[in-house]
């Protein structure tokens, strides 16, 4: 690849990260302003994982993600307008205002949902990967999970099953060092590398704040999966900047740890690499501005959208008969 192509590729990755960052920064403001109901869990500082892994995905691929899943679904291409309407509880939301932040989904894009249950997306992605193999789609399924899910039994079960069936399953662990309010070393006695090795599953660890490293490792894993070489684990070491949920004062974290997080910022690092490679600062700035305008328009549209009607929701728990026949 020419250095010009490499720079264009990094700019595209930066664009995906900038979209995620700016969306979540907007959400902090909307949340503080009581325009977002319920709870939101932000992935600020972890954008390189979402952008890097999404770059290795093809149209037929599927993914399941977590309560901290905004980045993954946006990197996959979820419509920003439908996303904001959903999180702000509007009728025009992607899920008609019935799921919110923890349940955003777009089945058309192969996004099988964020999930409110820690680890629950892993076996769902396993089944999706099995379906890809059974149907011969050449697709893979991606399971995003956090380090907190390493203690969930379904991860261990799914590693075993994916290994037995050689399923095209990419298990992406975003290890941000915190299981909700507790440091990971107090939650998990093993290492993910050892767990993968126990089942004979291919494993890579990358600097999860280096978007090019993540993209490269994800591409390598995807190539193996598509060649029928079985499941793969990708552990991305990263940092959670905000609290477990928005509004969490993070009293349990060391002040020095939090103040040092800027040094790891994946966007700043990608920007630096771009400038060093000769990309124009004005070009990056224009990209940032285009994203900001897109988000502002999406928020205004969400504010103007209707609230969901109770009657329609209560009537839609099961597939209506007409739809079932068709």
């Amino acid at each position: 690849m020419s250095s010009q192509d490499q720079t264009a590729e990094l700019l595209a990755l930066y664009g995906r990260m900038a979209l995620i960052r700016q969306v979540e920064q907007a959400l902090t403001r909307l949340f503080a302003n009581s325009e977002v109901p319920g709870f939101i869990h932000l992935s600020i500082g972890q954008e390189a994982v979402a952008a890097g892994v999404a770059s290795a995905m093809q149209p037929q691929d599927t993914l399941a993600t977590t309560h901290r899943g905004h980045g993954h679904v946006l990197a996959r291409g979820m419509d920003v307008g439908g996303f904001f309407k959903e999180i702000m509880g509007r009728a025009g939301g992607l899920c008609q205002g019935r799921g919110g932040s923890m349940h955003v989904a777009d089945l058309g894009l192969g996004i099988l949902g964020a999930n409110g249950i820690v680890g629950a997306g892993i076996p769902i992605a396993l089944g999706s990967a099995m379906a890809h193999a059974i149907r011969g789609t050449q697709g893979m399924a991606v399971a995003f999970f956090g380090d907190g899910a390493m203690a969930e039994g379904v991860l261990h079960e799914s590693l075993n099953m994916a290994a037995l069936y050689r399923s095209p399953l990419l298990l992406v662990c975003e290890n941000n060092g915190w299981s909700e309010f507790s440091p990971t070393e107090r939650q998990f006695a093993a290492r993910l590398s050892a767990l993968a090795a126990a089942f004979g599953v291919h494993y890579q660890q990358v600097d999860g704040n280096d978007v090019q490293a993540v993209a490269g490792a994800a591409a390598l894993a995807a190539a193996r999966l598509r060649a029928g070489q079985g499941p793969s684990v990708l552990e991305c070491v990263t940092h959670r900047v905000r609290g477990h949920f928005e509004g969490d004062a993070q009293k349990y974290r060391d002040a020095d740890e939090i103040s040092g997080l800027d040094a790891h910022d994946p966007l700043a690092r990608a920007r630096q690499t771009l400038l060093a490679a000769g990309a124009a600062e004005a070009g990056i700035g224009a990209l940032d501005a285009r994203i900001a305008a897109q988000i502002e328009a999406a928020i205004e549209a969400a504010r103007a959208d209707a609230l969901p009607a109770f009657e329609a929701a209560v009537a839609d728990v099961y597939t209506p008969h007409e739809e079932a026949r068709a």
Binding site: L94, A105, S158, D316
Partner: protein, 325 residues
């Protein structure tokens, strides 16, 4: 096609076979269902007929197996999962309650989860407290799930075909003591989930039941007929949704009702039916509605204890006489 005689396990096997032949998206997964043919032989021969891509032996990992089925259903397949004993459904509850039941609603109707979870319930085999429970009321309590429970080989066939064709998740509850029961099965006959059936007409009282206690009710009704009491026996066939109209119509004919099931009485399926009858059928009632069900205790092991626990024709007859007194 004319009817042939099949055991319940054979009827289930035929329904799986016919569904798989008709639709390539139908796949089976469960513990020992492929090479071993299933603990109760319901899947015998299907591995040979359809191969290991569609008939999948899983490790003993109920939670991930059931959740994987949700992922399959969201990726274009129609999985049928077998959970070897209904007691083990406790391990698959996240898949059923938080995932399968919620996906269609929670994702704003973008898609559905066409998943069937087959599982045997019920006692009578001295299988003890962890292999005998009837837990269907738990699942019927969850919006988004359907719960079906057949009482004959014919219904086992037709209702399983309907469950596999259904776009939403269906828990298909089989009674392990009924697998060997024989009956005529006409594979051309269809069934609709949510429709009850009158298996015996009668003017004096309605016996409402489902699953293995339907034959118990019939036995009681036959004995009562000798005393001049004509009981109507209504088989719900489906617990969620349940056929409220058929129950209220039967009550309007007989004005007395006894609800019968093997599951524990407290907070059970019968409680929902009785409460609805008290609300919407109050003017038709000539006597309190009674329930015959299991006492509030774990299913026992020793035969003498199981006899005390079981719903028998005698207990049903005693309740009928109380309702007519």
């Amino acid at each position: 096609m004319s009817a042939t005689e099949l055991r319940t396990a054979g009827a289930i096997n035929q329904a799986l076979r016919d569904s798989m032949q008709q639709d390539e998206a139908v796949v089976l997964l469960g513990e020992d269902i492929a090479a071993a043919g299933g603990s109760f032989k319901a899947t015998r021969g299907l591995l040979d007929a359809f191969g290991p891509r569609r008939v999948i032996d899983t490790p003993i990992s109920e939670a991930s197996m059931a959740s994987a089925a949700v992922g399959m259903a969201l990726t274009g397949l129609r999985p049928v999962v077998e959970i070897m004993f209904m007691d083990f459904v406790t391990l698959a509850m996240d898949a059923l309650v938080n995932q399968a039941a919620k996906a269609r609603y929670m994702f704003g109707g973008q898609g559905s989860v066409p998943l069937v979870l087959r599982t045997p319930h019920g006692g009578g085999l001295s299988a003890g407290p962890q292999h005998s429970q009837c837990l269907e009321a738990w699942l019927a309590h969850v919006p988004g799930l359907k719960v079906v429970c057949p009482s004959s080989p014919q219904d086992a066939y037709a209702l399983l075909r309907a469950a596999i064709a259904d776009p939403d998740p269906v828990v298909f509850v089989e009674h392990k003591a009924m697998y060997a029961a024989k009956g005529q099965v006409d594979t051309a006959q269809t069934a609709r989930i949510g429709e009850a059936r009158i298996v015996r007409a009668g003017r004096d009282l309605s016996l409402v039941s489902y699953g293995a206690t339907v034959p118990v009710c019939l036995q009681a009704a036959q004995q009562l007929a000798g005393e001049g009491i004509e009981a109507e026996v209504l088989d719900l066939r489906s617990i969620q949704p349940w056929d409220k109209a058929a129950v209220l119509q039967s009550l309007a004919r007989t004005h007395r009702m006894v609800v019968v099931h093997e599951a524990v009485q407290a907070f059970g399926v019968g409680a929902e039916i009785v409460a609805t009858v008290a609300d919407e059928g109050f003017d038709e009632l000539d006597a309190p509605v009674l329930r015959v069900a299991a006492p509030f205790m774990p299913p026992p092991f020793a035969s003498s204890l199981e006899q005390g626990y079981a719903v028998t024709a005698q207990r049903v007859m005693d309740a009928v006489r109380r309702a007519l007194a």
